[in-house]
């Protein structure tokens, strides 16, 4: 599919930054495309992290990440209102375990006040234990920040991308960029040509929002002047019956390199502990380790002593795309029309909606004409979460559409109608369904629903079962009795 069509903006990377930017640009009369190299959006950095919209008091206001943090926090709340992903405003409890830490957390609170974060409080030990009775008795005091939220970033990013698509943005998956043509010396205003393994894309502006691979993409554009150093974080999810052991995000007093090991409720009612912070050199190494687990649980028990490794129901590791500048790298480059949105480390997820607005402004500065659409729809039908509805509402839905009474995932009570809606919104893989609906995320980890989900994916896409994948090319789940498994190019590494 070689294209003569010249897009106004081509976004490389379908994570939080790419998706929020796509959605922000969908307000205007523009021809925008977003390229994601994996099978679905949000399958990279955005998929595997702590899932926190930060209170915004941690990052220094002297950094770009610090400046974007609080506007981003407000941006996610607005998106949640418009698009209906899960987001719980649980607040943050930043705990001090000695007098030195008491001083330090108060400094963080004062920094938050300077940044305009409302509602923070300094709590005594007694007040802290009153709010969070399962915390260690060693607590000396805490800072309360009501602005922090938990959400499922993959769910949010997937719905934001879906909203962009509804407003005319092209979302193209499995588009791995392999080349960006050199500039045309005869015509400096010529559009940029971006080549993927299968297609050719042309655009006036290209945004590099490629997460862990942003340095590689910059290299292809001939303007690499930074390096992405993956920093691994392992996370552990605990059984639902521990729900309520903490009701806010519990932070330890941070060290200079990391916010430390957190204990937090997830938007789904489980408890998550993590992350670790380990700089590695393999951008594909999302393995969990025994040392990582030991470190997470040792640290978590300093905050909540009753937490045990026995309650783990799932574990994962994610990589933070840390740049060698330790701050975001955002803006135009020496290559005309090629802009970076790179090195988006914590609190990058929180800042993403604000970063998207900043990028819109930067594109305008570079000459992109912004004419607002009159028919732009900021909202989209909110996905139904059947399990969370009242019995009366469930009954009404099931009368309207019996597929709301057809169970697919029994641990999380996910219905066929919800699975079909997720597929209509872009789910193409088992992981895509799981991250959108939670099918397969419960206690049995897909033992019951895997086959049902696979059957629906096969039917929806009109493909045989051996072509259904866990997360795209190469991740087949079953093969035919007679044939050899479908062998396709391996993604990455």
């Amino acid at each position: 599919m070689s294209q003569d069509r010249v897009r106004d903006v081509l976004i490389i990377g379908g994570g939080a930054v790419g998706a929020t930017l796509a959605r922000a640009l969908s307000r205007f009369h523009l021809d925008v495309a977003l390229l994601e190299w994996q099978a679905e959006v949000a399958f990279g950095v955005s998929k595997a992290n702590s899932g926190i919209v930060h209170s915004a008091m941690h990052a220094s206001p002297d950094t770009l990440k610090g400046k974007l943090e609080y506007p981003g926090n407000l941006g996610w709340r607005r998106l949640q209102d418009e698009l209906g992903f899960g987001l719980n405003n649980v607040g943050e409890v930043l705990v001090a375990l000695d007098d030195e830490q008491l001083v330090k957390i108060e400094q963080i609170r004062q920094q938050g006040i300077r940044k305009g974060i409302p509602g923070t409080q300094a709590w005594t030990a007694e007040r802290t234990l009153d709010a969070q009775p399962n915390l260690t008795r060693d607590v000396k005091g805490a800072v309360w920040a009501p602005t922090a939220c938990v959400f499922n970033p993959y769910e949010a990013v997937m719905l934001v991308a879906d909203a962009a698509r509804r407003n005319g943005v092209t979302i193209a998956e499995e588009q791995r960029v392999v080349a960006i043509d050199p500039r045309d010396l005869d015509d400096p205003d010529a559009p940029l040509t971006v080549r993927t393994e299968t297609d050719v894309w042309r655009a006036r502006f290209v945004i590099n929002a490629a997460g862990l691979f942003a340095d590689d993409i910059a290299e292809l554009a001939g303007v690499r002047d930074f390096q992405i150093l993956p920093r691994k974080g392992e996370e552990y999810l605990l059984d639902k019956r521990l729900s309520g052991i903490v009701t806010s995000i519990i932070f330890p007093c941070p060290s200079p390199v990391s916010k430390g090991t957190l204990v937090n409720p997830t938007v789904d009612g489980t408890i998550m502990v993590g992350p670790t912070a380990q700089t590695i050199d393999d951008k594909f190494d999302t393995s969990t380790t025994e040392e990582g687990a030991a470190q997470v649980f040792t640290n978590a028990r300093k905050l909540v002593p009753t937490i045990s490794e026995r309650d783990i129901i799932a574990e994962f590791a994610g990589l933070r795309p840390v740049s060698d500048t330790e701050d975001f790298i955002v803006g135009p480059t020496e290559r005309r029309g090629f802009l970076n949105a790179a090195g988006i480390q914590s609190p990058g997820l929180t800042g993403a909606p604000a970063l998207a607005e900043l990028l819109v402004d930067l594109l305008a500065d570079e000459g992109l004409e912004l004419e607002e659409k009159t028919d732009w729809d900021p909202t989209a039908p909110h996905p139904v979460k059947f399990a969370q509805l009242s019995t009366e509402d469930q009954q009404a839905l099931a009368r309207r559409d019996p597929r709301f009474a057809q169970l697919v995932c029994r641990c999380e009570i996910i219905t066929e109608a919800e699975i079909r809606d997720a597929m209509d919104r872009g789910a193409r893989t088992l992981d895509g369904l799981k991250f959108r609906t939670r099918a397969g995320m419960g206690r049995c980890q897909g033992g019951f629903c895997t086959w049902g989900c696979m059957a629906l994916l096969a039917e929806h896409q009109g493909i045989p079962m051996p072509e259904v994948t866990k997360r795209g090319s190469g991740s087949w789940i079953v093969c035919d009795r007679d044939d050899h498994p479908v062998t396709t190019a391996r993604i990455g590494g």
Partner: protein
């Protein structure tokens, strides 16, 4: 297959509601009907009754219950016939989402929508689920191709697809052993079965018939320590473990494979038990029950793998028939047998079910041993009963039949179940 007709209308009240139509639920329904219960509802989440039996296409079922050696689907057929003969309502493709402590049951099905009904008594026969990778925390990556043996069994036996071409099996539970043979027959290369413990977790007959007969190696005291591959499993690393089950990484080796099946144990599905806040036995993972399988909440019964993980479907049917009959009695307001003797696991015993016995009725005590004894073994129930058996091993459930006469004089006592070498002196 005499698939029953779905009832068109649900009643607002049933005498006995049974959740799960596997071997336990089917037998419980028959037990309740034969005890005189009229309005019985048997509910199952799958399109056909039979539960996991339907995917167990191997033989070895039914020797005790039906006096013939049949396959899982045939066993389900025989059990379902008894239900159909008794004109019991079977509602399939239906999931029970909630049960309140007032015994109001909420269920959903595409045929009947979302509805609630009241029940006089309830039998939880929801079976067990397989332990997953997360339960044993195998480090490494998370590619496609790691799945439980039961899921692979469903894919192969019910749907005709293979889970891969070169498989490693971790855990020597019965499903893993059965799947080692099944995959071999289907043309999949099975590189070996790896077991953390120094002995197999599955039945001896399965080790012989599924592994030895097919030259599939069984590596005892060995486990998987790493999983490799980005999108699909490419290899696994295995290592022997020492006496404390610590992997000896210097002795590890790699196996090129595209599939890792897990057969690392079953856990009773205690979802409804937790909702109802039933007392659970941490040793079985299932509810604490009386000699009629009644849980800590009057009117609520548990049977089958939901109560404790059985080795044979036959035992499940027998136990569930007791539960169903008692559930019928309770719904009809009949006398409950006094529960006046407590039983508890003693020497070399992991767990005992039921947890109390009655001096008014006959009953069977089931238990599992901690360590194998390959020689004359003494099974004893306190001072009430002693029996010698040839050997005991953890994978095979041991039982003691207990008549009221045997318990004469022990009312109010706690009896300890021991399984010890016959020559060992009394302590």
């Amino acid at each position: 297959m005499p698939i029953t007709e779905q009832p068109r209308h649900l009643l607002s009240r049933y005498d006995v509601t049974i959740v799960g139509a596997g071997p336990a639920g089917l037998a419980a329904a028959v037990g309740a009907r034969d005890q005189g219960a009229e309005r019985i509802l048997l509910v199952d989440r799958d399109p056909d009754p039979g539960g996991i039996l339907l995917q167990c296409i191997h033989s070895g079922f039914g020797l005790h219950t039906f006096k013939q050696d049949v396959t899982g689907p045939e066993y389900a057929h025989l059990a379902l016939e008894q239900v159909v003969e008794r004109d019991i309502d079977v509602l399939t493709n239906t999931y029970v989402t909630d049960v309140s402590r007032e015994l109001r049951v909420k269920l959903m099905s595409p045929d009947t929508g979302v509805s609630t009904l009241d029940t006089g008594s309830l039998v939880i026969a929801t079976g067990a689920r397989e332990r997953t990778r997360a339960a044993i925390k195998i480090p490494g990556r998370r590619p496609a191709g790691v799945m439980t043996a039961g899921l692979a069994q469903k894919m192969v036996n019910l749907h005709g697809y293979l889970p891969g071409r070169r498989a490693v099996i971790l855990g020597s539970g019965d499903i893993g052993l059965i799947m080692a043979r099944r995959l071999t027959l289907e043309g999949v290369e099975v590189l070996g079965v790896f077991e953390l413990l120094p002995y197999a977790s599955g039945l001896g007959r399965n080790v012989v018939q599924c592994l030895h007969d097919y030259d599939i190696p069984l590596h005892l005291s060995t486990t998987v320590v790493d999983i490799h591959g980005h999108q699909r499993v490419e290899k696994v690393t295995v290592a022997p473990v020492d006496e404390d089950r610590i992997p000896q990484l210097d002795k590890a080796w790699d196996l090129d494979c595209d599939t890792l099946l897990l057969s690392i144990g079953l856990i009773p599905d205690a979802e409804l038990a937790r909702q109802l806040e039933l007392s659970l036995d941490p040793r079985t993972g299932g509810p604490v029950v009386s000699s009629t399988m009644e849980t800590s909440m009057p009117g609520v019964f548990s049977a089958g793998n939901n109560l404790h993980v059985n080795d044979l479907a036959d035992w499940v049917s027998q136990e569930a028939s007791v539960a169903g009959a008692a559930a019928g009695d309770v719904a009809l307001g009949r006398h409950r047998a006094r529960q006046d003797v407590t039983v508890t696991p003693g020497r070399n015993v992991t767990y005992v079910v039921p947890h109390t016995l009655s001096t008014e009725r006959s009953q069977t005590v089931s238990f599992r041993v901690k360590a194998p004894i390959y020689g004359d073994t003494k099974l004893q129930l306190g001072d009430a009963y002693t029996r010698k058996v040839r050997a005991v091993v953890p994978p095979e459930m041991a039982t003691i039949k207990v008549s009221p006469k045997l318990l004469d004089g022990f009312a109010g006592d706690t009896l300890r179940v021991d399984a010890i070498p016959a020559e060992e002196e009394e302590r």
